[in-house]
């Protein structure tokens, strides 16, 4: 019994223990649970506080601190309408956090015993929690506040600066000459000079042009002076015509150039410029242009161009000329536009004609865009007036006189008959070779040469012309042709085992002929000796165009040790061929045009490969297996050289008794412009490069510039502007209009479309020429003019604490200093300098002015790219007071904790 009782008691005790443990665990669990779950109410409270503080105006608040500030005028009248939240933010921006804290305490006093409130701006505490660590919940409310920034004014002055056309602006008017305006006295017109023009507002009068003889210049029949011509071709000269400034009048002004010699009475490109200040504003005509021919008193000979910046829609031409024609001459006056003759008048002694669109069926308007050449001139029966001009040139004919050149060349007479002659002397028989010239192969029989010894019998007859004789004949033809150029010289070198004959560069044709006649064949073949000797001959005496004609009949077997080596070494290995190729390329590298002629029936392929490489390029290598063709090959090569050393110029011979005058003539053209004009906020900047000096130039275009239009000048003198390209795109190619340049115009100004320019470096090339493939370089005086637009945002300064102004000194790209007071009425002593950023950063005027000049400094080099005095722009400024700052946004935060 007791055992059973004890057993039941034991179970009850277990249950009580389990209960105790459970209760303890439950108590612990309740202790560990969160004191308070996160509430959604605090964020609402935080937002409410922000909204309420944004609603209470400064002049409404019951805060004693704010009221005191209002009384003490520490709060400006314009601040009375802002909210308490904005006031707190402004106080923060002014580093007035102590006052802000006091205001917060006062306006939140009604909450403080229930809620703890903290304020911050941009996480910069204005008023923090007193016991943050003890807070159970913290909620955040935010609002964006603009117009404030730490330690920056919230109100102040803002200056707005902009450009405007001034009353008095500087500008220029031009009268252009074409690529060739001639021949005779010339007259061009300075048109549409402003009505307020007089001597006092004319800055300069000048001419830049390429001329070939002394010229006397008149303005409105007043002599400006007589000026000598500089003897250099394709160079522009500057002519100061300021003595004629008093003769200039408003409207139209005639500028006349008077020459003595009719044949060189021309201008090879140029312009007359008058620079002045005026109150008048010229309104540009868009979609219409007029080209005025120069008035000519002598012989009409005009090479020029028009530039159509769009699609041509209509054309009108007026021509007025008179002529004096000798009885035995029939002449035709013609006007070519592009490659089409739009007017042709035969034997007209006087003509005035107007041509309209109906007369231009030969023109394809759709293809007439850009620069189109114009040519007006004279041609006719018994009159071919074009002048052919020689250029200095030196040609060395190098002839192979190796033993193989004695071999038979051909069987054309005169032939050399050779045969073995046996004769007897006493009791002995002897054999010798006889040779003499015969007229035909058949004549080469028996002892045809006669003389002693007398042949008892003959054998092995051979009638032919040795290669050396054919080579001599060809060389004689070549030298004869070359020396038709009066400025050409010929040199001779003959080689075999070494140099066996030479004659220095000379125009003495007798000496040349005698030297060639003396050639005899024999020995090995050292072509490299001949080439190196010729190179030295050029380098000592020649600065002219240099040419080399080399003849070979086969394998080279002597090698040279490089430049200056004329003796050579016998070497039957490929080294001789290699040495010869090196000699040829050496000559090419020294600007000598090397032509190679390989002749003979026994030419091996490896020999001809070597000879090809000796020539400067394959077009200068000629080959024949028939020696009889040698003369014609020499002639072709020589004519090629002649075409490179002579050219037909734009000048014409006046002709006996022939005269013609051109007056009042013009071409008017209408077009649909493809130029994007200036837009709002764009201002024009005209950039003019310095003289290019080379035919290839690089023009840098900054990223914030837009090219509206541009042109390149080309002082082509008596040649033609033949090619203009930009960035590998051809803008003008005279060959598109034909191969006879005498019938094609010659632009002095070639337009380059603005859209072909890219930002960064632009490669621009210009060339002149006299015939297709005959380039004549370019003028070093060419320039490029860019009409560009830069987008200017009229600067409005940020809010600054003052607006006083400054006297500005601004450097321009031409290193001239532009000075101006901003605002214009500023009379203080403060000086500001753009190039080194010297100005008052707390002055609204200064900030705005600096911003403006920065926009005009395209390449950020401290110098503005717009010539303010030339561009005729002035600076106007406006200041606005009491402007709220535009700082921000800043984050205004309220934290609520409990």
């Amino acid at each position: 019994m007791e055992v059973k009782k004890r057993k039941g008691f034991f179970f009850s005790t277990d249950a009580l223990l389990a209960l105790g443990i459970f209760v303890i665990a439950l108590i612990l669990l309740l202790q560990l649970r969160p004191a308070s779950a996160p509430s959604f109410k605090e964020p609402i409270i935080a937002d409410d506080i922000i909204m309420a503080l944004s609603a209470i105006r400064v002049n409404e608040t019951s805060s004693p601190t704010v009221k005191n500030m209002i009384s003490a005028q520490e709060i400006r009248p314009e601040q009375l309408g802002i909210s308490i939240a904005e006031l707190l933010a402004e106080l923060w921006s002014e580093d007035n956090t102590i006052i802000a804290e006091q205001i917060i305490i006062e306006v939140t006093s009604t909450l403080s015993s229930k809620y703890q409130v903290a304020f911050s701006v941009n996480q910069d505490d204005l008023f923090g929690f007193s016991e943050e660590d003890s807070l159970r919940t913290v909620a955040l409310g935010t609002r964006i506040v603009t117009g404030i920034n730490r330690s920056q004014p919230t109100r102040g002055y803002s200056a707005h600066i902009q450009f405007s056309l001034p009353k008095n602006r500087t500008t220029s008017s031009f009268a252009y000459f074409g690529g060739f305006s001639g021949q005779g006295d010339l007259e061009v017109m300075l048109r549409d000079l402003p009505s307020d023009l007089d001597s006092s507002n004319i800055i300069s009068l000048s001419m830049e042009a390429a001329i070939s003889q002394e010229v006397t210049i008149f303005v409105n029949n007043n002599v400006c002076g007589t000026f000598p011509a500089e003897p250099l071709s394709k160079r522009s000269q500057y002519f100061n015509l300021s003595s004629c400034i008093p003769a200039l009048l408003p409207g139209y002004n005639r500028v006349r150039l008077s020459f003595e010699e009719l044949e060189t009475a021309f201008v090879g490109g140029g312009f007359v410029q008058v620079k002045y200040t005026t109150n008048e504003i010229a309104v540009p005509t868009v979609g219409q242009g007029t080209y005025h021919f120069p008035d000519i008193y002598g012989i009409i000979n005009v090479y020029d161009s028009i530039t159509i910046p769009g699609n041509l829609t209509s054309l009108e031409i007026y021509l007025e000329y008179d002529a004096l024609i000798p009885p035995n001459v029939e002449t035709t006056y013609f006007l070519n536009i592009g490659n089409a003759t739009v007017y042709s008048g035969t034997n007209m002694t006087s003509e005035s004609v107007t041509l309209t669109d109906a007369d231009f069926s030969m023109l394809d308007y759709s293809s007439m865009s850009g620069t189109i050449p114009i040519r007006m001139g004279i041609e006719g029966v018994n009159y071919s007036g074009y002048v052919t001009v020689d250029n200095p040139s030196d040609t060395i004919i190098i002839t192979d006189l190796s033993g193989s050149m004695a071999w038979c060349g051909d069987t054309e007479p005169p032939l050399t008959c050779t045969y073995d002659c046996r004769y007897q002397m006493w009791f002995w028989q002897f054999t010798t070779e006889k040779s003499c010239q015969v007229e035909s192969v058949d004549a080469c029989a028996g002892d045809v040469c006669g003389g002693t010894p007398t042949c008892t019998s003959t054998s092995n007859h051979d009638a032919c012309r040795p290669r050396v004789e054919i080579a001599k004949e060809a060389a004689l033809i070549a030298q004869d042709l070359i020396l038709t150029n009066e400025l050409a010289r010929v040199g001779l070198i003959a080689y075999s085992t070494g140099i066996v004959s030479e004659l220095g560069l000379t125009d003495n044709q007798t000496a040349v002929v005698n030297e060639i006649e003396s050639y005899e064949a024999g020995g090995w073949t050292c072509m490299c000796c001949g080439i190196y000797r010729a190179v030295d001959m050029y380098s000592k005496v020649s600065e002219n165009h240099s040419y080399m004609i080399i003849l070979s009949d086969g394998e080279v077997n002597y090698r040279c040790d490089g430049p200056g080596s004329y003796t050579g070494v016998l070497d039957l290995s490929p080294a001789s061929a290699q040495s010869t190729v090196e000699a040829g390329q050496y000559a090419c590298e020294n600007n000598i045009s090397v032509f190679v002629i390989a002749a003979g029936p026994d030419l091996e392929p490896e020999w001809t490969e070597t000879l090809k490489e000796v020539a400067c390029d394959e077009s200068m290598y000629f080959e024949t297996s028939d020696f009889s063709e040698l003369s014609s090959i020499y002639e072709n090569v020589t004519r090629e050289i002649l075409s490179r050393t002579t050219y037909t110029s734009q000048i014409v011979h006046p002709g006996e008794g022939l005269a013609s005058n051109l007056t009042n003539s013009y071409i008017t053209y209408h077009y649909e412009s493809n130029i994007n004009p200036l837009s709002i906020n764009e201002i024009p900047i005209t950039k003019r490069t310095s003289k290019l000096n080379y035919c290839n130039a690089s023009v840098l275009l900054n990223p914030n510039l837009r090219v509206i239009e541009s042109y390149i000048t080309s002082y082509s003198d008596e040649h033609w502007t033949s090619l203009v390209g930009i960035n590998d795109q051809t803008v003008f190619n005279i060959s598109n209009y034909g191969s006879n340049f005498n019938l094609i115009g010659d632009p002095f100004i070639v337009g380059i479309p603005g859209d072909l320019f890219s930002h960064g470096n632009n490669s621009i090339a210009v060339l002149t020429g006299s015939a297709p493939g005959n380039e004549t370089g370019c003028s070093p005086d060419n320039i490029i003019v860019l009409s560009t637009a830069v987008s200017i945002i009229p600067p409005i300064s940020p809010v600054a604490s003052k607006a006083e102004g400054c006297h500005w000194h601004v450097l321009q790209e031409n290193l001239e200093s532009f000075e101006t007071s901003i605002p214009s009425y500023y009379s203080g002593s403060k000086n500001c300098y753009y190039h080194n950023s010297t100005y008052d950063i707390d002055d609204a005027y200064d900030i705005s002015a600096y911003s403006l000049f920065s926009q005009l400094d395209i390449d950020n080099n401290g110098m503005i790219d717009i010539y303010l005095t030339e561009q005729a722009l002035t600076v106007e400024s406006i200041v606005v007071e009491n402007v709220p700052s535009l700082w921000g946004p800043a984050i205004f935060e309220v934290k609520v904790g409990r």
Binding site: I49, I56, S109, T110
Partner: protein, 166 residues
Amino acid sequence: MKGQSNFVDFIIALGIFLIILFVFISFNQSNKIDYSMTGEALMISDSLLSPGIPSNWTETEYYRPGLLEDNKLSTEKWEMFYNIMITNSSGLKSKYTLLSDFMIRIGKYNGGVFTEIDVGGISHITTDSDVNPLDIVNMHFDRIDRMERIIAYNGTLVIMEVIVWK
């Protein structure tokens, strides 16, 4: 003896079960959030912290009155709201789609105690005039919740307390 032993165990187990049940119910009761009441409190307070619909509502023409004018408590709207409540509290409740009664009072905390302030001579507005604000905490309701909102009034921050109950 065998039967007695089982009875004692049963009594002890029942006790343990009842204790656990009591603790569990107490624990759950103390943490219960009446989301429907909170939602109503939030809804009425949001509506009151607005200009109302329409914003120029009057005692006779209103859809859902609000108490703010220029984001501040408008005395005029407060008085109009009071008058509407006096005459048509049930209609007003239906405008807010409320099932509960509510009381609104304006005040501030002073030493941790909410103190009513007069707004146009009116310190509180209630749908049930029998309910005294001072006693409301001691009164028994099936469900009750309250919400405080901060509002700009008379150049300072005041507290608008909204109490809803059933």
